[in-house]
Symmetry: C2
DNA sequence: TTGATTGCAAAGCATTTGCATGCTA
DNA sequence: TAGCATGCAAATGCTTTGCAATCAA
């Protein structure tokens, strides 16, 4: 238990590949070409990508790698602390970088699918206070604001007649606030 | 557009059945025994229930009603503003009362599946401020704290050796805070 | 009568699992 | 070599859809 804390301190400056290899070793797993490639491509991405998204990126570089392996590796990356699962409510699971990345929350535009990342220390604090009131010990949290982004608000003024159902999440932009 | 605001004001004191019938009429839909029963049972429940949960409750009173109708009716209730979809991240969609119910957020115990409802005006305010910074116009939001509830923290002290994977969401309790 | 509604079965998705084969340690 | 990893196909679980039969207005 205590040695874990020590280990965590030592790991503070490792890069993500090291973290991955360490996790594999510690867990008695095996390093494979597939896992290396998937991690590599994941590290090259920004924003949030679904298992499906990553699968296609991987396909481009090695068409022999299957869906299953991507799913399983993404779980592995999550266990290793490199990735974080995020759900935006469309039924798919997205993954974002987690290691050495500041925690943040999301605003999701229901018009164009854009995702804005933000962080508010005050909100975090109030959440913890709230949890404490109930004797609840929080491990994670997820705060999502659904609404319409600035750009889409402007678009609406022009094309006020066009049918504007929710679009599939295609464009993904990242902005840090606060 | 403006008449909608007027209508909303007039509806302020309607009960849920009236709201439902109004919605059906306004939309050129039809009132059916199935919809009546499903609404009835929904109104009798507390907490959050999945389509599946509601389906079984409905089955007990009328075994001839199918899955499909429950799904479709739940969507209808949502459109009518009586229900609200909630996702806890286990792949299922849950529904909770929405009409004349104060907005609230959730703490979810990953140990026993208990759901605690809470509300914090301060957090809401900060969220709106944050959105404003990005020119983002929020329509909904969802804040979920995942963690371990007070009871389960105590349980752990006793049964520290027992395997304690995440349980299916079975017990659901509701507490209002603040 | 007309068109919305129902319930079944089948289809859709995203994700997981069984299993024979392949490969790392 | 032992046994973890892979990739295919099949299975799963939740939700939606097609469609003929029913039913409300």
């Amino acid at each position: 238990m205590f040695s874990e804390i020590m280990a965590a301190k030592k790991e503070e400056f490792k890069d993500e590949k090291e973290v991955f290899l360490d996790h594999i070793q510690k867990s008695g797993l095996r390093r494979t070409a597939q896992r290396d490639l998937i991690l590599d491509i994941f590290l090259r991405t920004e924003d949030h990508l679904s298992s499906e998204d990553l699968y296609w990126l991987v396909q481009k570089e090695d068409p022999s790698i299957g869906h299953t392996t991507v799913y399983r590796t993404l779980k592995l990356l999550t266990e290793a602390g490199l990735a974080r699962e995020v759900r935006f409510g469309d039924g798919k699971t997205y993954y974002e970088h987690h290691y050495d990345h500041a925690h943040h929350d999301h605003m999701i535009c229901t018009e164009c699918g854009k995702v804005i990342e933000f962080f508010s220390a005050e909100i975090e604090e109030l959440q913890d206070e709230m949890a404490e009131k109930f004797g609840f010990k929080p491990t994670h949290h997820s705060l999502r604001l659904l609404g319409i982004c600035a750009e889409c608000q402007n678009k609406e003024k022009d094309l006020s007649s066009a049918a504007s159902g929710a679009q599939p999440r295609i464009r993904v932009k990242t902005v840090f606030g606060n």
